[in-house]
């Protein structure tokens, strides 16, 4: 089932022509209405007329989160303030929040995107969608809300928290689709078990989970515990919010709505565009946005793009699972290393979420990586040999995954410095 077959199953050539036309309009819009974009383009010696093919997109400078911060709160808006009908903002753990604006048309387009996602998860007019994303400045709650209404399904705007009430509503109103973060879905599943509720009393069929990374194991756990199909959704407020990309029933990558966004994968260090299939940083250009168009926005998310046809019939390219953030990326002896990859290895060995720290150093011009792992009750064994085996296993699994030799050091619990509950993951001692 498709929400918008004409668009979602568009042939590539036709899509390319459509994208080019919309891209030209967007470049025109920002050049003439946003000081910052005009300035950057002028510095690069580009005028809107230079964009003749989709490939010319590469000529344009990138936009970063810093650009949004520098133009706080609305310096990058391309429409007069009277046209803006809504504001959202990101949490902004470092410094000021990032404010994003929407015109009436933007809100309608966003609802269209969410309606597509809901349809991918089996959503129909008679579905009951429980939105357990937070409502407010965060894009999750209201984004899903409007999309569900557009679909014509029934929305339960319960927002996050109060898990027992969530479950009561889920049971009494016969929720069929749950939208929330994967960790909250897992929490709901566990609470249902604790309450001793019969699974048959819950009519849930699918879940759309996003706003935080979800490992394949976590997805399986949610699917098994709730007896549903879990669909990964991707989005970011700077681009529009949730709904940029979503998994279809084949759950093999997230279809990105290419009639609204042009995705690129770049090498985060050199900025060069990488060929399809290669892993790198996702860069998005919006081509149908009024209030806050973004040109080559660096998402800092690491993924890859798959243009192979999908059995579902949609022609839109698929994003791979988000593998990490460029902020966390380390280059060790020329190899790109993400803490998330190390974490997966540690989880597989210890079967629990580990507390660990990566210490990078350079001696005699050679990079070294030491992984400090806190010895949990579960990992601890009375025999030296067993502990040495754990160390060797971690090191060899990391070698298999990343191709680099590491030194694993087992340390006592609570010895790794934590800042606001989150452990400080990486210490780079290299003087580069």
């Amino acid at each position: 089932m498709y929400w918008n077959k004409t668009r979602e199953c568009m042939q590539r050539e036709q899509l390319k022509a459509y994208q080019l036309q919309k891209l030209k309009e967007t470049i025109d819009l920002v050049y003439h209405n946003v000081e910052s974009y005009r300035h950057k383009m002028q510095q690069a010696g580009i005028i809107p007329e230079d964009i003749k093919t989709l490939d010319d997109l590469k000529k344009l400078p990138f936009t970063t989160k810093q650009d949004l911060r520098d133009n706080y709160p609305n310096g990058l808006f391309a429409t007069p303030e009277s046209e803006i009908i809504r504001i959202h903002a990101s949490s902004g753990t470092t410094g000021k929040p990032t404010v994003v604006g929407y015109t009436r048309r933007d809100i309608a387009n966003w609802a269209e995107l969410i309606a597509r996602c809901l349809t991918m998860a089996g959503g129909k007019k008679n579905s009951v969608v429980q939105v357990a994303y937070g409502y407010g400045l965060f894009t999750g709650g209201l984004g899903f809300h409007y999309g569900t209404e557009k679909l014509g399904a029934m929305v339960i705007p319960v927002s996050g928290g109060n898990t027992k009430r969530q479950i009561m509503l889920m049971k009494d109103l016969k929720t069929t689709i749950l939208a929330c973060t994967p960790s909250y879905a897992l929490h709901i599943a566990e609470t249902i078990e604790e309450m001793g509720l019969d699974r048959n009393e819950i009519k849930l069929k699918a879940g759309i989970f996003g706003a935080e990374p979800c490992t394949e194991n976590m997805r399986k756990e949610i699917e098994q515990k709730l007896g549903i199909k879990a669909h990964d959704i991707y989005g970011l407020s700077e681009v529009i919010g949730p709904g940029v990309a979503c998994e279809c029933s084949y759950q093999n990558g997230l279809h990105i709505s290419e009639d609204f966004f042009i995705p690129e994968i770049i090498d985060p260090v050199t900025g060069e565009t990488l060929p399809p299939g290669q892993k790198g940083e996702l860069v998005i250009t919006t081509i149908d946005k009024e209030a806050l168009p973004v040109i080559r926005y660096r998402t800092r998310d690491i993924t890859s793009l798959n243009y192979e046809p999908c059995p579902c019939g949609r022609t839109f390219a698929r994003l791979g699972k988000i593998m990490g953030r460029t902020d966390d990326m380390l280059i060790i002896r020329g190899v790109n290393v993400f803490p998330s990859q190390i974490e997966s290895v540690l989880m597989a060995v210890g079967e629990t979420e580990p507390h660990y720290q990566l210490i990078v150093d350079r001696t005699d011009n050679l990079d070294s990586l030491e992984i400090r792992v806190e010895v949990s009750e579960k990992l601890f064994a009375d025999e030296v040999r067993k502990l040495e085996d754990i160390r060797k296993k971690i090191a060899s699994n990391i070698y298999t995954t990343l191709g680099i030799n590491v030194n694993v050091r087992l340390v006592e619990p609570h010895t790794i410095e934590r800042s606001e509950g989150k452990a400080k993951r990486v210490i780079d001692k290299r003087k580069l």
Partner: protein
Amino acid sequence: MFVKQISVFLENKPGRLAAACETLSKNNIDISAISIADTTQFGILRMIVDKPDEALAVMKKAGFPVSTTEVLAVEVADRPGGLNNALQILQQADVSIEYLYSFIKRNGDKALILLRVESPQKAVEVLKNAGIKMYTCEEIAEL
């Protein structure tokens, strides 16, 4: 027939052993046997104490990774060849030893050795048959 041993993970750096002993001392726990297996990075502190359950709880509370292991407390004559006698019996029965250490106290002219073996049941059987005395937790507490 087995004695409960407390094992503690310690990082190989100054002050960690003292911190572990401090925790036991504060809780008035008496150590009757102690040993450390060490590597360049970490060590495993193994102890027999008068109140093993309490020791386990307080060490856990203090944040040390800690576990209990059942070991054999074997009585040997405190003279040349005393330990060898017991080891010969185990060797003949093909029981391999993972580690051993000795008690601080003696029982008259007898020494006490703590043994961790690969096949504990078999070890108990052959030692018993050879007339070698093994201590229980209660017997150790009375020493």
